[in-house]
C-alpha cells in the first residue's frame, strides 16, 4: 500500500518535470512556439541551456574541424549580447542565475573551439577518445622536440626568436591541415597521433611567446 502510494507520487513528479522541460520555466508557455530557443516568445524570459548540446551546437556553428574563426567569434559576440549577466541586473534571481550559467557555457565553448589544439581534443572527446597519459618513446621525434626546446631556450636575439616563432607557427599550421583531413576521413588513430604532436609544438609555442614577452618584443 505504502509503496504503491510512493510510486504514484514519483510518477507525478516525473510528469511534472517533463512538462517543465517542454515549456518555459517562468510562464509555462509551450516551447515549440519559442523564438530562436533562447527566449520564451510569450513572456520573453531567458531559457536554460540544453545540457545535451555540444559546444558547436551551443554556438550555432557547423560541426567541423576547419571552422571559420571569424564566424565563430561573430556568433560568440552575438550570443553574449543577449546572454551577458549585466543585462539581467534588474531581473529576478532565477533568470540571473540562468544568464550566468548560459554565458559561462558560451565562454567555455568559444575558448575551446577557437584554438586548433583544444578544438581537436574536444572533437576527439566527442568521439569517445582521449590523448593517452602514458609515456611516449618515439626517440626520433622526441629528439627533435628536445632540440627545438633547447634552441628556443638559447635564443637571445629578437631576430632568432622571431624566426623560431615563424617556423613553429608553420609547423602547427601544417599539423592543423593534416588534422582536418584526418577528421574528415574519420581516421581517429591518425587524429590521436597528430594531436599529441601538436601538443608538443604548442608547448614550444608557449615557451616562445613567454620569451617574446620577457624580451619586450613588440609586434
Amino acid at each position: 500500500m505504502l509503496t504503491q502510494r510512493l510510486f504514484w507520487y514519483l510518477s507525478i513528479i516525473k510528469t511534472k518535470q517533463q512538462i517543465r522541460y517542454l515549456s518555459c520555466w517562468s510562464c509555462g508557455n509551450n516551447i515549440t512556439t519559442m523564438v530562436s530557443n533562447l527566449f520564451c516568445s510569450n513572456c520573453k524570459v531567458l531559457q536554460r541551456p540544453d545540457k545535451s548540446e555540444n559546444y558547436f551546437k551551443v554556438l550555432g556553428v557547423k560541426e567541423t574541424y576547419d571552422l571559420d574563426e571569424s564566424e565563430l567569434s561573430m556568433k560568440y559576440k552575438e550570443l553574449q549580447k543577449y546572454l551577458h549577466p549585466d543585462k539581467y541586473a534588474n531581473r529576478n534571481k532565477e533568470e540571473q542565475e540562468i544568464s550566468a550559467q548560459y554565458s559561462s557555457l558560451v565562454n567555455d565553448a568559444y575558448k575551446t573551439l577557437l584554438e586548433p589544439l583544444t578544438r581537436g581534443i574536444y572533437m576527439l572527446r566527442l568521439r569517445g577518445k582521449e590523448i593517452p597519459e602514458n609515456t611516449q618513446l618515439d626517440q626520433e621525434f622526441l629528439f627533435k622536440i628536445m632540440e627545438k626546446n633547447e634552441e628556443v631556450e638559447n635564443a637571445d636575439t629578437e631576430e632568432e626568436i622571431m624566426r623560431l616563432d615563424k617556423e613553429n607557427k608553420a609547423v602547427i599550421k601544417d599539423l592543423q591541415k593534416q588534422l582536418s583531413t584526418a577528421f574528415f576521413d574519420g581516421d581517429l588513430k591518425r587524429v590521436l597521433h597528430l594531436l599529441s604532436h601538436m601538443k608538443y609544438y604548442t608547448s614550444i609555442d608557449n615557451q616562445i611567446q613567454t620569451a617574446i614577452r620577457n624580451k619586450g618584443i613588440f609586434r
Partner: protein, 156 residues
C-alpha cells in the same frame, strides 16, 4: 587573466623560473618549489660514452619532454646523473629528485625506484602523478640504454 591562469596551472618552461615564482608558490608543495627553483644535476653527459645511458621520454597528454642520463662506473655503480626537462614544475622537480636518488645506487637498485616514492616525496596531487611516472620511465629508459650499450660492447 587567461594568461596568468595558464601560467599557474599549465606547463612552465625552465627559463621563466625567475619571472614567475611569485604566482607559483600558491599551488605547489614546498619540496616541488625547492627542486624547481634549485634543480639538481641539470645538464648533459656525453651521449656517445659507453658508460653513459640516456633516457628520452615524452608525455603526449601534456607535451612535456624529459632527458635523463646516468654515468655508471666499472663496478656497476651510478656515479653521475644529469637531466634536462621541458615541462611543468612537477615534471622538473620529479626528474631533479630522480637524478639525486639514483646517484650512488647500483644499476639494479636504481631499477627498483618507483614513481610512487617520487610522488610521495613531492606530495604530488593526483593530476600530477603522471609527471613522476615520466621520471620513472626516464630512469628505466636510461638504464636500458646503458645495458644495450654494454651488451654491444661485450660482443665486439
Amino acid at each position: 587573466m587567461a594568461y596568468l591562469f595558464s601560467n599557474i596551472w599549465r606547463c612552465l618552461c625552465m627559463r621563466n623560473r625567475a619571472a614567475l615564482n611569485v604566482v607559483q608558490t600558491a599551488s605547489y608543495h614546498a619540496n616541488v618549489i625547492d627542486h624547481y627553483e634549485n634543480p639538481r644535476n641539470v645538464g648533459s653527459l656525453d651521449k656517445k660514452d659507453r658508460n653513459v645511458g640516456t633516457g628520452l621520454v615524452g608525455a603526449p597528454a601534456c607535451g612535456d619532454v624529459m632527458k635523463l642520463q646516468i654515468k655508471v662506473d666499472d663496478d656497476g655503480k651510478i656515479i653521475d646523473a644529469k637531466f634536462k626537462t621541458f615541462g611543468c614544475g612537477s615534471a622538473i622537480a620529479s626528474s631533479s629528485l630522480a637524478t639525486e636518488w639514483v646517484k650512488g645506487k647500483t644499476v639494479d637498485e636504481a631499477l627498483k625506484l618507483k614513481n610512487t616514492d617520487i610522488a610521495k616525496e613531492l606530495s604530488l596531487p593526483p593530476v600530477k602523478l603522471h609527471c613522476s611516472m615520466l621520471a620513472e620511465d626516464a630512469i628505466k629508459a636510461a638504464l636500458s640504454d646503458y645495458r644495450i650499450k654494454q651488451q654491444e660492447a661485450d660482443k665486439k
